[in-house]
């Protein structure tokens, strides 16, 4: 059996990739994928700890998490499609009304 450290290490790497992707990339799809990646790494942490403790609790929680992630995905994808229909772009910089034209409102 592999030691839990290996799984935790993988989880940390995935989490870091997600966080960096969220901060650096501008495409809304990549931003969304980064958030999903971070959530999945947390799932891996939960499953690993569940194994360490020798009980099923953490595994069940990671299943519940997948449902929550799916709910978020539905709204996120709907928003991305809506923004694409209006601006013809999925770049997060394409929609900047609030930052530049606040005074006109």
């Amino acid at each position: 059996m592999l030691s839990p450290d290996a799984f935790l290490f993988v989880a940390v790497v995935i989490f870091a990739i997600g966080l960096i992707g969220l901060m650096l990339r501008r495409s809304l799809f990549v931003v969304y994928l980064s958030i999903e990646l971070m959530l999945s790494s947390v799932n891996l942490i939960l499953a690993t700890f569940s194994r360490v403790h020798g009980e099923m609790g953490g595994g069940v929680v990671s299943l519940l998490m997948i449902a929550v992630i799916a709910a978020e995905a539905a709204i996120f994808l709907a928003l991305i499609i809506y923004i694409y229909r209006i601006t013809k772009s999925v770049d997060s910089q394409s929609i900047t009304q609030l930052t530049h034209k606040r005074d006109e409102a």
Partner: protein, 497 residues
């Protein structure tokens, strides 16, 4: 079993109402006002049951045989539920005119609002971290949709985009914190975590403290405290008025319900570590919030930024809790109630005016001479501003008074002085509006007072604020300001360890 069913009734009613409205929103013939009416009916029924439950509940677990100790029912959760429900009722009724004036509202809006309330009520009942995460997500995911509800406006969509990206990121940190806590303790029940913390030394549980800090980050993000405040102003400006009102008041109370429970139960053994962080966050929140509020040109933006400042005051009391102040927790609840009354009123007037005239009454300049145009509304607005600024004889003054009292009781006189200084600064941006309303001539002729449910409620809330400030004890059998504080401290006593 019957007792449990009775305790779960308010929650179940809201859930059934949400499903009912979701199905009925497919029917095209129903008028919008009727949806509003049905929603308010469900909320009121639930509120009445909560008020009865509040009299005779002490400390119970919901369906202990099925859910173990996931859902707790005590006076604190019931009190918070009463606040959420009354917040939702007021939001819906005050915005009655606004809903009619815009064409993008439909039945689903009310269904989503009820789901959000359901999430918040679950959050108040939660005694376990996974349930807390799911209810926070339930409350937030519905709010993401509500923020972007104005599909004619790109600004609304942009606000939704900002909120959903940053909100999901905050959610990730919460579940990461939960995962780390689970890894150390092997359980996610608040009671188990407390027992673990109380029986171990600090240097044995670095991972646990890191996990709890991650959870704290999320909660501070959701209430809009300082290092995590960047979304607040943009999202509040971008979203429709009813949603802004709902976020600024009800959601904030909901997050404080879990924050207080976590802080009073779980964080108690690690107060020495966390208290300094809370102090720094409170000072930063007050400073940055004031700077933001001064620089706003739109009223909605000013109210949004000032809501950051109000969070800062409550964080002072949170810091006082960690130093052992006895009534800081009830001061927070009292402040939440006072802020809630004033903010709902102020946002209510804005939304009422916006429902009349499409583009006007959003910036400070539009309010020049407002008192000559609509004297009663201007008087109500003045009362709300005075209360937000903490002027004596309003309920806002008493709220600030209790907060600073708790800081002084904890021995933090400098911090209380700093808070009072920030309150003086806040007079600038609140009184600017009052001065603009009264000291300029009006371009438009005087208008009659429009009698509708929105305006009558606004006036009633203005009266409540004044009554809460001075009329305490004048009317027998109805709780005044002191009574509210007593109720809050009574509710806090039932919190389980």
């Amino acid at each position: 079993m019957i007792w449990d069913l009775y305790l779960v009734m308010p929650l179940a009613l809201i859930f059934i109402g949400a499903l009912f409205l979701m199905l009925f929103s497919l029917v095209q013939k129903v008028e919008l006002a009727n949806y509003n009416l049905v929603t308010v009916a469900f909320l009121t029924l639930s509120l009445i049951i909560e008020l009865i439950i509040f009299q005779n509940v002490e400390h119970d677990y919901l369906f202990e045989t099925i859910f173990a100790k996931m859902f707790i029912v005590d006076k604190l959760s019931t009190l918070f539920n009463i606040l959420f429900l009354s917040g939702a009722i007021l939001t819906l009724l005050i915005n009655n005119n606004y809903f009619k004036s815009r064409d993008y509202y439909n039945g689903e809006f009310f269904a989503l609002l009820l789901f959000s309330i359901f999430g918040m009520m679950m959050l108040a009942h939660t005694n376990e971290l996974i349930t807390a995460f799911i209810s926070i997500e339930l409350a937030s995911i519905t709010l993401y949709v509500l923020v972007g509800y104005n599909h004619h406006s790109l600004k609304s969509s942009e606000a939704m985009l900002k909120y959903i990206i940053l909100g999901s990121l905050a959610g990730v940190f919460f579940i990461l914190g939960v995962a780390l806590v689970y890894g150390v303790v092997g359980s996610t029940y608040l009671g188990d975590i407390y027992t673990y913390l109380a029986h171990h030394q600090n240097d044995e549980m670095t991972l646990l403290i890191v996990g709890m800090m991650f959870m704290m980050v999320t909660l501070l993000f959701k209430i809009g405290a300082a290092p995590f405040h960047s979304w607040v102003v943009d999202v509040y400006i971008g979203s429709p008025f009813p949603v802004t009102m709902f976020m600024a008041t009800t959601l904030k109370i909901a997050i404080f319900s879990i924050l207080l429970r976590l802080f009073l139960v779980d964080f108690a053994p690690i107060y020495p570590i966390i208290s300094e962080i809370i102090k720094a966050v409170a000072i930063l929140t007050l400073l940055i919030g004031s700077l933001l509020a001064i620089s706003q040109t739109q009223l909605k933006g000013m109210l949004a930024a000032s809501s950051i400042v109000h969070v800062g005051y409550m964080l002072i009391a949170l810091y006082a809790i960690s130093l052992g102040s006895s009534f800081a927790a009830s001061a927070i609840i009292f402040y939440l109630i006072s802020y809630f009354l004033s903010a709902v009123g102020a946002f209510g007037i804005l939304s009422f005016l916006a429902s009349d005239e499409e583009k006007r009454h959003l910036s400070f300049d539009d309010f020049k001479g407002f008192a000559h145009e609509r004297p009663y509304m201007a008087a109500a607005m003045t009362i709300f501003m005075l209360s937000l600024a903490g002027f004596p004889s309003t309920i806002g003054f008493l709220g600030k008074f209790y907060i600073f009292m708790s800081a002084i009781e904890a021995g933090e006189i400098l911090l209380a002085g700093f808070g009072i200084m920030i309150a003086f600064i806040s007079i600038y941006y609140y009184f600017k509006l009052i001065a603009l309303m009264y000291f300029y001539p009006s371009a438009n002729p005087k208008k009659k007072f429009p009698f509708s449910i929105s305006t009558l409620l606004i006036v009633a809330m203005a009266l409540m604020i004044v009554w809460g400030g001075i009329g305490t004890g004048l009317i027998p059998f109805i709780a005044g300001a002191d009574g509210l504080l007593t109720i809050a401290s009574e509710a806090l006593k039932t919190i389980g360890k």
